[in-house]
Each structure stands twice: as C-alpha cells, then as structure tokens.
Amino acid sequence: MARVGVFVCFCGANIADFVDVPAVVEEVKKIREVKYAVYYKYMCSDPGQQIIKDAIAQYRLTSVVVAACSPRMHEKTFRRAVSEAGLNPYLLEIANIREHSSWVHQKNKKAATEKAGDLIRMAVAKSIANEQLHEISVPVTKRALVIGGGIAGIQAALDIADAHIPVVLVERSPSIGGRMAQLDETFPTLDCSQCILTPKMVDVASHPYIELIPYSEVIGLEGYVGNYKAKIKKKASYVNFSLCTGCGACTQKCPVKVPNEFNMGIDKRKAIYTPFPQAVPNKPVIDAEHCNMLLKGKCGICSKVCEKGAIDYTMKDEVIEREIGAVVVATGYDLWDPKPYEEYGVGRFKDVITSLEFERMVSASGPTGGLPIRPSDGKVPKTVVFIKCIGSRDEAKGIEYCSKICCMYTAKHAILLHHKVHDSRAYVFYMDVRAAGKGYEEFVKRAQVETGTTYLRGRVSKIYKMGDKLMVRGEDAQLGQVVEIEADMVVLATAIIPYKTNPALARLLGISYDKYGYLSEAHPKLRPVETAKAGIFLAGCTQAPKDIPDTVAQASACAAKVCGIFSGDALKKDPMISVVNPDYCSGCQNCVQVCPYQAITTEEIPITRGSKETRTVAKINEGVCQGCGSCAAVCRSMAISLKGFTDSQIINEIVSI
C-alpha cells in the first residue's frame, strides 16, 4: 500500500489568496493513500524542505506530492530534498496549483480551490505508479573524430587536442587545408590566406594528440555518445607514405596531364600529384582514374624515379576502425554550377568565369602567377564586371538563401583586381550589399572609394559578344536605366551549396539535414553546434554558409562541447527514457521507424528460456534515447513504456478526477 505525503505551498499570497489551501489539505486527507498532508508558507524554503524530509522519515512515505508552482520551476529542488531524506528522487510528483490554478482563476476562489484539489488528486494518483529511477551512467571513450580537414576541422582538432584529448582527423582529399587553402587573401584584412593557414596545418601534422588520416572517408558510425565506433576507408594512394620523402621526382616525371581541380581546372596537374605545394601531408598520391600504369599496365615511370621505392601499384583500399566518443562534422561546402545562366553565356563564353576561378588566378601561387587573364586569349582584362547572387537568392534557377560571403569576397576581388592590374576598372552588379561583420562595411567602402569600383544596383539581363568584348547589359535600378558595359571579363559570384554527399553522410551518422542538404543543428538559436544526436557536432559550412571567422568560432565551440563530454569518466543522463518489455514485444519494429534518434535497434532473444530458437525484439539504447515517448505511443502491445510517463501513470491521472 502506497503511503503518500502531500505538501501544499502558500507561495506567500500567490496561492493562498486565491485557493483555500487549508480546505484543500482537508480534502486531500480523504484520499485513501494519503498518510500525511500539510501546508506551509514557502515549501521551497529550507524550513519548508525540512518539513518534507521530516515527514518522509516519520510517516514512512513511499512517495511525495508537492503542490506548489510549476514543475518546470522547482522540480529539481524538491527532488533533491526528497533524495536527501533517503527517498528515490523520482518518487516525487508536483501538482502545479500556482500557474495552473491560483494565478489563472483569481476571480473564482471556489473553482480554483476545487481545481487545486483535483490537480493534487491527479498527482497523488500518478505518484502511486511512480517507480524508483536511477540516473544513467554512460562510459566514455575519450577520443574525438573530426570529419573534414578544412579550416573548421583543423581548428576543432587543434582545440580538442590542446586539451590533451586524442583526435582522429579524417580528410577525403590528399591534403588538409580545404577551401581556405585555395584562397588568395582574406577579407576584411587582406591577410594572405596561406600565411595564416599553413602554420595551423603544420601544427595538425606534428601534434602528438592528432592522428591525421588523409585521402580517407568515414563510411560507418555505430554506437552512441561516448561510445561510437567509426569505420574509415583509406583510399589506395599507391604511395607508401612511410617511405616517401616528398621529394617530388615522381610528379615531375609523370607524363600524364589532368585538369587541376585545386586550380579550378585552369592548369594541369600530373596523374601522380600533391594538390598544392604547401600540402600536409606533403606526399603525392596516384590518381587511379588517369594513371597509365593502373589503367593500361604501361608506364611505371614514377616507380623507376622513386629512389625510396615508395610507389606500390598493388595497393588496395583499406578499412580501419577507431573507437571514439564524439564527432565533429566539418565537411565544408561546394560551389553552385552556374550553367542555368544561359543568358550570361556560361559555357559558351570562356571569359565568363566563376569567382573561385578568379581567386585562383589572383593567387600568387596560382596557375597564372597572380595575374588575372582572359581564358580566351590570355590577355590581361582591363574592364571586369562582377555579378553577385549567382544562384543565391534565386528561386527560379538556384537556391532561395543568401550565401552570406559573396558580398564580401566580391569587394575583395574588386580590390585585388585593382592591386594586380592598376589601370583596370571594376563594376559590381548587386542586389544588396550585405556587409554585417566587424570591419566589413568599411571594407566594402574601401573597394568603392579606394579602388573606384562602380557598384550598380540591379541584375544583369544578358551578356553577348561584340568582337572580343563581352557586352554586359543590366539595369541600374537606382537610375532606372538600362546600362551596357563593354567588359573584358565577367566574374560570377556563385552560391555556396552543401556537398551532394551530405545527405548520405547524414544518414550514415544518423543526423538530419535540411531541404538543401545542409546538416541540421539541434536548435537554430540555443544549440547551434549540436545535432539532434548526442555527441555529434557541426562546424563550418556543412551547417550553413558562413565566413572564416564564424567558421573558426563554431569549430572552437564544437571543441568546447567535445571537451565537456570528456570532462568526466562517465556521462550522466536523465533516467526518464523508454524501456522495452521483451516478453510483450513482437518485433514489428514500428518503433524503430518513428524514433527520431535511431535509439532503437533490435536484438535476438531465446523464444523461451534456454531455447536455441530466437526471436527479434526491440532494444532501446540508453545512451541515445532522449525520452520523447514516440515509441511508447506507437507500440500496440504496450511493450515499450516511457519511464516517468508510463501508461499506468498517465491513466492513473486520467481516472483519478
């Protein structure tokens, strides 16, 4: 027989003025299971809590009901008090008679009193069905996995590793560095991208707590927060990195030329290559799709010139496993293909290029030695038109959102053009100039004033060819006129888009993604780096378009979160999660389908004790379950119950009124 104690709070005048508290206590005393009922001015005060503690001992209470303010307010306080009295803290129930009665029925004391009585009756009924629950402790593997070796991944890995936590950094290309390595100078300070990035890349390579696995991809992730197991596929590089010294003899002698993706195809690289001179690790890989030896079995020059014998044509893809406790996803962004802009002659006019192509051209280490040139005839352009929002904010052809960085990098390009070609003239067609950021507006002003770049508000309607010039026709909306500019080159500020591989990666990790393919954060404002899956965090443009400062900030935030998880030997979790009664489970797996956290898997159990034959039943992963109860509601045989909100507890509440 349950022995319930009820403690009704006056909350000063807050409750007592509108609810006849002594009458309520008398009413409650009539409930069979209630062995003790009392009221006090402030239950949450120390003497108030002492009343509860004393009563638990004196009346051997099996559960406690506090009728006071909302459980969202003081549930934790009273749980602690109950716990200190030696009772399991989850045997406490709160009847919310302040927010739900005294404050909302101030003109009807009779009804408010009656309602308070009912609310307490419900809480008493529920508490009778309460069970002892214990905080869940989940062991933690203190190693982090960072997916992606761009600036986001590099920053997160360094910050975590600096806290003496081992990091596995997986990069899909042969070198870390990512998009930032492709950039020339960075806004708004125009400091050289390579100069600030390369030291960090070297730090990663030499850090004792970082295991760098380049030219690899994560192909599987099992487990839950603190206890993940990652499968990583190391792509065959055909070069034994432990023997290779990075001398570069092979890349010089290789006869096969392939468009260089690092330079946006402006120049050629070899079939055996390091993506760029400052690559980390500075070891070449063989591109199996173009290598004559691997394709036709003829050539073998690189093997001949390699003094160390590091070339191994028989190398195969290899899958390795790492046990980890948390994941930072930092896979970066791709660029929108402007092909749908047929009216701009994309694909037909060679001198209509994208902004990243322009970026490579003006890069001192780029394919043109830092000078912008027209791809059609190799001449240096004098008049360059920059068009912003190519694909961004364009529902018809591209995507709806703003890519956030194009305004700034276009201003940067206008300045860089002026730096490289002093007698040049730049025009920028824009929809809006969005320069929110420290020093950003000033930077745009600098482009406009210092370099004399003409900013034209309006869209370009057409580009056509006149001789070897590109005629750019657009609207100057501020003048209300059509303008035509005779340009040597047109640069399209193409939108940032997520990699097409994002949805597959999200499914693999068990996290969600939005309609564009960006990975989704748990809450747009208050949990911007977490995902809905505990222990997986997002950094950089894989979550949404952002610039380098924001990316680095988010990466460091991820590192702080990861370090938080690893701060203890075990993770403590709220015990109010679902549990399966295997006797009742028939294994239909509909719960697996509706669980938003992939917290439900299946297990095989013997049909009867000791039997060899097995049947499949659902199994809740304690580490992953967040306690929403979706599974409990769809379980037809009621094999799943949500602790703290069991069917019995809720039905008790319903029938007690």
């Binding site: 402006i266 120049d267 050629k268 802009y341 047929e342 009216e343 002659g345 037909r348 780029g366 394919p367 043109t368 030695g369 000078l371 040139i373 027209r374 791809p375 059609s376 005839d377 190799g378 057409k462 056509y464 060819k465 006149m466 001789g467 070897d468």
Partner: protein
C-alpha cells in the same frame, strides 16, 4: 502517313502566306498530313488578355475543344503567338479542371474539354517528332555555304514552365535543323531577344530600336540571312527593315526567311515555290551563297583562340 492537327492562325492566310505554303510542302515530303481544325477562331493573341481573363481563356479553349474532335494526339501550330496562347491555356485548364468545365458549359458550346491533345509549335514538331536525322536523310539539295542566324523570338521557348521545349535562353533546335540541311548556323547571342512586336503599331520607335539591334547583331555574327519560325518575327524583322535602316542611318539588308522555306528548298522544291516575292528585303543574293565554299575562319568571334596557356605564362 501520319496525321497532324493543324492550327494555322490568322497570319497564315495573310502576311505569312509563304510560311503556310512552304510548311505544307515540307509536311508533304515528311509524309505528314495536316488536318486543319474546322471552324477555328482567333487565339486572342495579345489583345484578349488585357480585356478579361475569361475571354483570353475561352478563345483558345474553343480551339482546343475543336481540336480534340479530330482524334489526333498532337496539334501543330504555325504562329508562335497562337502557340503561346494555346499552350498557356492548356496548362491552365489542366491545372484548373473546374474552370474548364465552367467555360465549356457556359461560354463555349462545343462539348467537353479533356486535355488529351498535345500542343507543339511547328518547329518543335519538326525537331521532336520528325527528328534531325530524318530531315537530314531527306535533303536533296544541301544548303552548304549558307550562313544563317536562327532567331527564335520570345514565345517559342518561353516561359519554360509552359513550353517545356528547348532552352529558354539559348535554344539550339532550329540551329540543329539548319545544320541538318547543310547550312551553317552562326553563334547568335540575340536569338531570343525581344523584337518589340507588342509596340508594333503604337510605338514603332521601340521596334526600330530593338529589332534594329537584332538585325545588326545577326549581321555582326556573319549571317547571310535570319531564319525564323514565327510570322510576327518575320514581319517585324523583314517589313520594318527599310524604316530601321532609315532610323539607324545605315544599310543592313539582311533577308528574313522561315525555316520551312529553307527546308523546302533543301528538300528539292524549286525556288519559285518559296514565294520569295513576298519578301521586302530581297533574298536572292543571300541564297546565291549556297554551294560556295565556306572559308574558315569565317568570323572573328567564332574563331578558336589559342588556349590561354596558363602554364607557359606561369612559368
């Protein structure tokens, strides 16, 4: 012999008689029988939809209902404007069957609309249903040596959601057909530019400006003549040319022909069948280029410039 429902539109019996005539010749060679919709009416063109929505929908809808009675799956439309009106109406009706029911029961007394007939422009029909390969196989007299600029105008490929045909900005279907006939289709940036047709009567100076630009650009691209698939384009580009020349103060003199005229010519019909006398800008000189050897490079803008050779420069 396949049958095709034919909607000629008002101009086919007037200003674009040569289009209508050569179209019929071409279809004969392609073994397609044109079945003209009996008792067809005006499509409403640019005038109806500024009046009332119901009028703008009812006029084409009546034609669509009549077309369904002919039991051919496809209807070919000669005029680009008619094509646009009919196709937009069809799209609207297919999406709003209630409206179709309302109009067929109240305004139009010709039976129900089911939406079973597909609508294609004649250009689209030749490109999609007949195909470039078949056209190529039927050529008796190659048009090699003739350089043409294909002008599509605004309505044949736009709006994309309605026409569902070719690229809205840089279509190539007519160019491909011309190449099949042996002619050289020049790279023509103005192929979908507006000719100003709507201001044809009210503000001719707009037409002069816009059409003038198209003509100049065709000339610039090195074309001997402009090929069109729309009667309104033809009349604007051809008929207005003397006025435009006066307006610009320079001679252009580029003839404007229907793609069907050139097809008929290539299919072996004699020149007199092309009704060349209907043209304002004489075409004979342009056609005399047929058979001449094309010198390459024929055009500065078309030449392939040396690759920038970024490597050499970087080194």
């Amino acid at each position: 012999m396949t049958k095709l429902t034919y909607f000629p539109g008002c101009s086919a019996h007037g200003t674009s008689e040569e289009f209508d005539h050569t179209l019929k010749l071409v279809m004969k060679t392609l073994n397609v029988e044109l079945e003209e919709i009996p008792d067809w009416n005006c499509c409403g063109a640019t005038s109806a939809h500024v009046m009332t929505e119901n009028l703008a929908l009812s006029l084409p809808l009546r034609n669509l209902v009549l077309a369904e009675k002919l039991e051919n799956n496809t209807m070919g439309i000669a005029c680009a404007s008619c094509y646009s009106r009919m196709k937009s109406t069809k799209k609207y009706m297919d999406e709003h069957p209630d409206k179709a029911k309302e109009l067929t029961s109240s305004v139009i007394d010709e039976g129900e609309y089911t939406g079973k007939v597909e609508i294609k422009s004649m250009l689209q029909f030749c490109y999609e249903e007949v195909g470039v390969e078949k056209i190529k196989s039927l050529v008796k007299k190659s048009l090699s040596g003739l350089k043409v600029a294909c002008y599509y105008g605004c309505l044949l490929t736009r709006p994309k959601g309605v026409t569902q045909f070719d690229s809205p900005e840089y279509p190539m279907s007519m160019d491909r057909i011309m190449e099949a006939l042996g002619a050289t289709a020049v790279d023509f940036d103005y192929k979908t530019e507006c000719c100003g047709a709507s201001f044809s009567i009210s503000r001719t100076e707009v037409v002069h400006l816009l059409t003038g630009k198209i003509l100049e650009m065709a000339k610039e691209a090195g074309a001997d003549l402009i090929v069109v698939a729309c009667p309104l384009c033809q009349s604007n580009l051809d008929m207005r040319q003397p006025d435009i020349e006066k307006h610009l103060g320079k001679k252009i003199g580029i003839p404007v022909m229907y793609f069907t005229q050139l097809m008929a010519l290539a299919f072996g019909y004699p020149e007199k069948e092309l009704k060349l006398s209907k043209h304002i800008v004489p075409v004979e000189e342009a056609l005399s280029n047929i058979g001449k050897v094309v010198e390459t490079p024929q055009q500065p803008t078309k030449t392939k410039k040396a690759v920038p050779s970024a490597e050499s420069e970087a080194k």
